[in-house]
Amino acid sequence: MSAVPMQAAPQYAPALQPTYLNVQRTIRSWLLTTDHKRIALLYMVSITFFFFVGGVAATLMRLELLTPRAELVTSETYNKLFTIHGVVMLWFFLIPSIPTVLGNFLVPLMIGARDVAFPRLNLASWYLFMVGGAFTLFSIITGGVDTGWTFYTPYSSTYSNGHVVAMAAGIFIAGFGSIATGLNFIVTVHTMRAPGLTWWRLPIFIWSLYTTSIILVLATPVLAITLALMALERIFGVGFFNPAIGGDPLLFQHLFWFYSHPAVYIMILPGMGVVSELIPCFSRRPLFGYKFVAVASVAIGVLGFLVWGHHMFVSSQSIYAGMIFSILSFMVSIPSAIKVFNWTATLYKGSIRFQTPMLYALFFIGLFTIGGLTGLFLACLAIDVHVHDTYFVIAHFHYIMVGGMVMAYLGGIHFWWPKITGRMYPELPAKLAALTVFLGFNLTFFPQFILGYLGMPRRYPVYAPEFQVLNVLSTAGASILAVGYLLPLTYLLWSLRYGRIATPNPWEATGLEWTTHSPPPKDNFETTPLVTAGAYKYDSQAAEAQREVAHV
């Protein structure tokens, strides 16, 4: 097993050395920290909070949709709910989720650095995120916004009555936090790798985050200017998108999706990165086709910029542009296909264990495949005409984002929990929770595919009575899902105190982060590691042999 020098970790000595958690204990030392690991925890707490804000909105929406009439809440409130849900879940939970929590924690550890390149910028990005979040919460509390997360003009710029400007400002500010994070990661990966850690030796997680960062850095400014223009138009009454002075509402959509399509890859690439760590570790096999998976990440990132117009097939954009965007959407699916097949092939001849992180990883593969394949339906021009803005789209993206990315996030949190906290989570409740989430999830969102093809439009608090049965199923699923999400919250908190003490490398994983203590000391490594081999040097035969010895 430990043929790799990086495995020769210093012996675990909890009492001797302060960890990053207990070097300093004041609140101040947390709020002014520049340690990437502490910033990761700041983010973890913040986005968990935002997840529940978005979750409460989802719960209320699903309850409202139990009946075909707007009985629980008015249409106006419902519209605000899905706006809150979309905005908070995307910009304040999913986009920051893996990059800012696991990414901040792991990028320096995985490349053998003491910190990211710009630690103070890193802290600043958290503050930007929080200030942006404060603006958003302010706009929610003082009356809400009812534009949908897409802010289409001229509705948002002229007709809507909510606090659109405050919410746009919130997203704008948080966006600069994203840019700062992305910039930091790119520079860190380029300049701070440990000696010997060449590009082809980097874990896929790093490749994924690197690509994610490229998207963050190059797409987010376009969102910023788009929202700024929309807000200016709202404030001054004249602007780019105003049909009254010859403005073209489609220009807004182009600019918005120029950011927002690449953004969906911000939301999946880090998940793919996590899964690429989990699958090899729990099947004790090197990742199948490592280089192809790495290149596929970058390909998704770059090609992802070329397909935004597939959200505009029925918007009256040129039909020829529609065709270009359609074929490119198919092309961007190829690297995803490559990844799915490589993960599956990694299992072959493995020695597979089914701890919780692995369960999440397997669920990820399954649900991402379904979500991605339904993306192909949407990329098919003729079909999209029918299912655009119906629940089919809703189901598609929840399959990828909730079924994919949230699963990957949970899997990653469980996997690195011992490293982050120094404690093991309890295995049995964790497995139960994973199963609950999986079942609840499918019951919630599978019926929505059918609803969508039947023609139920999205953003409809009042709907035709024949859609009710499927909606009730979906709501039932959502309540199971809610339980599934509350479980990890409880037992993970429990484990902080009562969990088993973790060894430096409880999963016998490769990767530099496992060569240091759990939790790591403030400067991560006692000496700068020297890397002499690539990632994923797993050996299933050795693992089996070891098991036999243990059992004899």
Binding site: L251, H254, A321
Partner: protein
């Protein structure tokens, strides 16, 4: 000292070229060249920007890696223009 003088000379020469290009672009704007007008103006702007990037921003003497970062912003801007205009320019085709 020699390297020093040559650096300063580069800056001054670049500056003279830039001011010349500025004068040129203004003059050309007053000639009616039809479709060539915007093309020439664009070409002059691109030339000036390239001069600034290479000489003032020292990219000429930088590592290849930096060239990639310099190009990235413009490359992605190009993507944005190409695909967005694929809509606006073909919208009236039937």
């Amino acid at each position: 000292m020699n390297a020093n003088a040559s650096a300063v000379r580069t800056y001054i020469l670049t500056e003279i070229a830039l001011l010349g290009l500025l004068a040129l672009t203004i003059c050309v704007a007053y000639l009616n060249l039809g479709l060539l007008n915007p093309i020439i103006a664009g070409a002059i702007s691109v030339t000036s920007a390239t001069l600034i990037i290479l000489n003032f921003m020292h990219v000429r003497h930088s590592k290849p890696l930096l060239w990639i970062f310099v190009a990235a912003g413009f490359f992605w801007l190009g993507i944005m223009f190409a695909l967005a205009l694929s809509d606006f320019l073909t919208r009236h085709w039937r």
